[in-house]
């Protein structure tokens, strides 16, 4: 193989700008898949990705492309588009030399276009700007061209016009990949070093690593060592995806592919770690990439206590190809043994919980997400509060700080008033507005992270008819007037329902939560009182009356088997409830402290 004939690239885009469709066309044009095999959005292999039309997990495919009578290997490394997953984006970019930046011909530059572009630029990647969806009737190529020029500094002649739908411009794009993106540096003689940029668990092969070989080469039967964990394995399988699996005997410097080595112990693999070969080992690891810290935490508990170990195993497997997921065991008075789990954002948390339910068939209770607070105490110490139950008593607290973000909200100028109102409602501090052009603005606020983790994005979308896009960066901690609010069921505090909230919002929130719990918790054999309290002060209260009726009134000869089946069904339903004291609480109740009545 001639190393200079390799191009490693990613596609970065704002969500919905047509990345996956364009990738499909590239796969088709390079003959990687025939028209007949074409399934919509081939790179999105998880059901949840196709359902939501988003990419979460990286996928890599090796493509062959003829350019000026020479064959080139193009390694396409897919990236997610959502703000929660910028960590994944930076991982895939670490394996590339170039990136295609897609901008929708009708929408123009959006918040995640900027965020992902900055990530790519930080890695010194060669960027190819592409205006996609030029077939749309409302495509405005001159306007978007001007945006790319004015805001991002691209020259007009650099920009490639393209349609993932019709295939127009895709060949020009492939040519540009070969022409403009540099070949990977090839260092065949150096001791082997390969970057693990992703991994997943296969029940036959064990842990499968996705790697980019930077120096040297890896062969079948090589003994390899993980530099961070010092674990040694023998390589049993090497290959690439085209997107079908194609087995190889060697992977060399500059190439990307997968590696299996009968690795059963999940903890011996860290994404971001460097692999070397034992014969001639390297000592210095490759520069990894900044590890992303979880932004929000939730408790995840099995509905049935006996499923704790299964839940742990499932989380370990998910962590294998989602290095950003963190968890540690935790005990809740109300919910028993479970895991305190860190996520990059709310979408990330939703995806993990959905995968636990679907792929591992687990009934789980998820508590409402919380951000990490710093509580400074009167004795001069500081407590990190990543779970409301860890909040010290009020009288011991000097001040509480919470994380703030700096927003990029890109939207048509006509929505500025409505967006500003939303940001104010979310305790935002106005900073500035940048004009992208005459009609579009980028609005900057500083907002507490806790205010955006739940429904901020949904509200933003509905206020702007879907025209606004949103991204943020964490800017640090600031003091806020926060209190811990407890929820009591029949007078007993439910630790899993406690939350930390701004003092001014506490009354409304307490009212909202008690009303919502009243709707969600079914009637019991006795009356249930629901209270919201700050310290010992009750600020809201609702009652659920005792159940009055649950009986099959008629039960004669023909009803008997039906009656038994009905009881079985009711019993199944109860299995999904969690006993909190004497009260049966459905799993969704633990998320009811999210949201507001705005």
């Amino acid at each position: 193989m001639q190393e200079k004939n390799i191009r490693n690239f990613s596609i970065i885009a704002h969500i919905d700008h047509g990345k996956s469709t364009l990738a499909d066309r590239i796969l088709e044009l390079t003959g990687a898949v025939s028209k007949r095999e074409m399934k919509e959005q081939l790179l999105d292999s998880m059901d949840i990705e196709r359902e939501r039309g988003i990419t979460i997990k990286l996928n890599t495919v090796k493509l062959k492309y003829q350019y000026q009578n020479k064959e080139y290997i193009l390694n396409l490394i897919d990236t997610p588009g959502h703000v929660d997953f910028s960590y994944e984006v930076s991982r895939s970019l670490a394996a590339c030399e170039g990136a295609i930046l897609i901008v929708d011909a009708a929408q123009g530059i959006e918040a995640q276009t900027l965020a992902n572009l900055y990530l790519a630029m930080a890695q010194d990647l060669k960027i190819i700007p592409v205006i996609n969806k030029i077939d749309l009737p409302n495509a405005d190529i001159p306007k978007v061209t001007k945006e790319l020029h004015d805001i991002l500094g691209f020259k007009e002649e650099e920009i490639i016009l393209c349609s993932g739908k019709t295939g127009e411009g895709v060949k020009e794009l492939l040519d540009a990949i070969v022409e403009r993106i540099p070949a990977p540096q090839v260092n065949l003689d150096k001791p082997t070093r390969a970057l693990i940029y992703d991994s997943y668990f296969d029940s036959y092969k064990g842990v499968v690593l996705l790697i980019k070989v930077v120096d040297g080469k890896i062969k079948i039967k090589d003994k390899i060592k993980m530099l961070a964990t010092n674990k040694v394995f023998e390589v049993t399988e090497l290959g690439v995806k085209t997107p079908k699996e194609e087995l190889l005997n060697t992977l060399e410097s500059g190439e990307v592919g997968f590696l299996a080595g009968a690795i059963k112990d999940i903890s011996s693999v860290h994404v971001g770690d460097t692999i070397t070969v034992l014969d001639n080992p390297a000592t210095e690891p490759l520069a990894g990439y900044a590890k992303m810290k979880p932004m929000v935490y939730s408790g995840i508990y099995p509905v049935e206590a006996s499923k704790y170990d299964l839940l742990k195993e499932a989380l370990n497997k998910l962590k294998l190809n989602d290095a950003s997921l963190t968890f540690e065991s935790v005990t809740s008075e109300a919910l028993g043994f479970g895991f305190h789990t860190g996520f990059l954002g709310l979408l990330h948390s939703e995806i993990i919980t959905t995968r636990l339910e679907r792929e591992f068939n687990l009934d789980i209770v998820v508590t409402s997400p919380t951000v990490v607070y710093n509580a400074y105490l009167t004795d001069g110490s500081m407590v990190v509060v990543d779970n409301p139950s860890k909040m010290p008593d009020r009288e011991k607290i000097l001040k509480i700080e919470e994380p703030f973000i700096y927003t990029n909200i890109i939207a048509p100028a006509s929505y500025v008033g409505s967006i500003m109102e939303l940001c104010q409602n979310k305790r935002g501090l106005y900073k500035t507005i940048d004009y992208i052009n005459d009609t579009r603005v980028n609005i900057h606020y500083e907002i507490p992270l806790s205010e955006v983790v739940y429904d901020f994005y949904d509200k933003l979308k509905s206020r702007t008819n879907g025209y606004a896009s949103f991204d943020y960066e964490l800017i640090g901690y600031k003091e806020s007037d926060l209190v811990k609010m407890d929820i009591l069921l029949n007078g007993e505090k439910v630790d899993a329902l406690s939350l930390i909230i701004h003092k001014d919002f506490a009354y409304n929130k307490g009212k909202y939560i008690t009303e919502k719990l009243k709707k969600v918790i079914p009637r019991q054999m006795f009356q249930v009182s629901i209270q919201a309290a700050i310290g010992s002060k009750i600020i809201a209260r609702e009652n659920i009356s005792a159940m009055r009726k649950n009986v099959l009134a008629k039960c004669y000869g023909g009803d008997i088997t039906r009656k038994r089946k009905l009881l079985e069904a009711q019993k199944e339903g109860k299995k999904r409830m969690k006993m909190v004291g004497r009260v049966e609480v459905p799993a969704e109740a633990f998320l009811s402290i999210l949201g507001s009545d705005e």
Binding site: V551, A553, K554, G558, T561
Partner: protein, 367 residues
């Protein structure tokens, strides 16, 4: 409690024909059609011939549908089929009817074949309730017919009462109950209206009455009937002393019974079976649609969920004799005795009377 003996059985016969269809009914029924009725009765004869093993029959119940929708000739044919059974020890023979179908000729035939109990679907005398249910009957007519029945020597009469219809108030129920109690009857079966799929009300997406109103009405009925001298002996059934339905108690005692006819269910030789609900299949002679071989564990479970429907509950000694195991060792009864949801009285395990309307919650803790 009587323990089932092989040579003593009960029989249910289903007649799936009606002159008009009530808006809440999800039973197996079709509009009356002469040709079908004739064919149906013939098939019924075939099914009885196939299945009946010659036991003594102690109770017969002919239900529907509306058995009284048959013509006199058809009725005679139907009742004649019951002569296929050994009726020497027959204790109770119930026939379901609509009040408007009752007349002297019909009663004479019923009496001739040994019918000694009538169950009549009155449901309500309130005009709005009747319109909603698409039923019809007047208090005056009912009183006359009941007197006629008694004059023919049938002195065991049940009326059905439906309450908690959408929009029904406690006041309406009180009026209904007052009228029911003025009539010469011995038994009342009472049900809150259930709006089921595959009924007219279900299709119309009519909402059920709220739980609190429903329960309040039930409490009122229990109190009022008790005062009027009725014994509350099952969740939904009330009788003057000695007039408890012997046939229905077979179900709640978890005893075996034959079920004949389209949509009927039976329990024979340890197997619970359902006949087809499709009239055309039944007319082709394809009687059975599914069955369940009841294991000992399942049988004890049925004993529990059926037996606790009776206000008198389950006799612990009888349970031991039947299954050779103590009931306390099979079901987690103790905590519920402690909480007062279950009680043991005179050797019987029963649900606390004030919890009978939420009995499913208690059963869920037991099974």
């Amino acid at each position: 409690m009587a323990i089932a003996t092989v040579n003593e059985m009960s029989v249910y016969i289903h007649i799936p024909f009606c002159k008009s269809i009530c808006t809440y009914c999800d039973f197996c029924k079709v509009l009356y059609n002469k040709e079908w009725v004739v064919a149906y009765l013939k098939k019924l004869k075939d099914e009885i011939t196939d299945r009946y093993m010659g036991e003594n029959i102690k109770t017969i119940y002919i239900g529907g549908g509306t058995p009284s929708s048959l013509s006199l000739k058809e009725l005679e044919y139907l009742l004649n089929l019951t002569n296929m059974f050994h009726k020497e020890n027959l204790q109770e023979f119930t026939f379901e009817c609509n009040i408007e179908d009752i007349n002297t000729e019909m009663l004479d035939i019923l009496v001739k074949y040994g019918v000694n109990r009538l169950s009549i679907g009155i449901e309500s005398f309130n005009e709005e309730n009747l319109i909603l249910m698409k039923r019809n009957c007047s208090y005056k007519d009912t009183l006359e017919k009941l007197n006629l029945i008694r004059s023919k020597g049938i002195n065991n009469i049940n009326l059905d009462l439906i309450y908690a219809l959408p929009g029904e108030t406690l006041k309406i129920l009180k009026q209904d109950l007052k009228l029911f109690l003025k009539l010469p009857i011995d038994h009342i079966s009472t049900y809150s209206l259930m709006i089921l799929d595959n009924t007219f009300l279900g299709y119309k997406r009519i909402e059920s009455s709220p739980e609190d109103i429903d329960a309040k009405m039930y409490d009122y009925i229990c109190k009022k009937l008790k005062k009027a001298g009725f014994i509350h002996y099952e969740v939904s059934n009330f009788a003057k002393k000695g007039f408890e339905s012997k046939h229905n108690l077979v179900y709640w005692h978890n005893l075996e019974y034959y079920g004949f006819g389209c949509g009927a269910s039976g329990y024979i030789a340890g197997v619970r079976y359902d006949n087809t609900r499709s009239l055309s299949n039944y007319l082709k002679g394809e009687f059975k649609s599914s069955d369940e071989l009841v294991s000992k564990e399942r049988m004890m479970e049925y004993e529990l969920i059926l037996g606790l429907r009776k206000m008198a509950g389950i006799n612990l000694q009888d349970f031991f004799q039947k299954y050779h195991v103590n009931m306390q060792n099979v079901f987690p009864i103790k905590p519920l005795l402690k909480s007062g949801e279950l009680i043991i009285q005179d050797g019987n395990l029963k649900i606390s009377p004030d919890k009978i309307y939420v009995m499913n919650e208690i059963l869920l803790k037991l099974v």
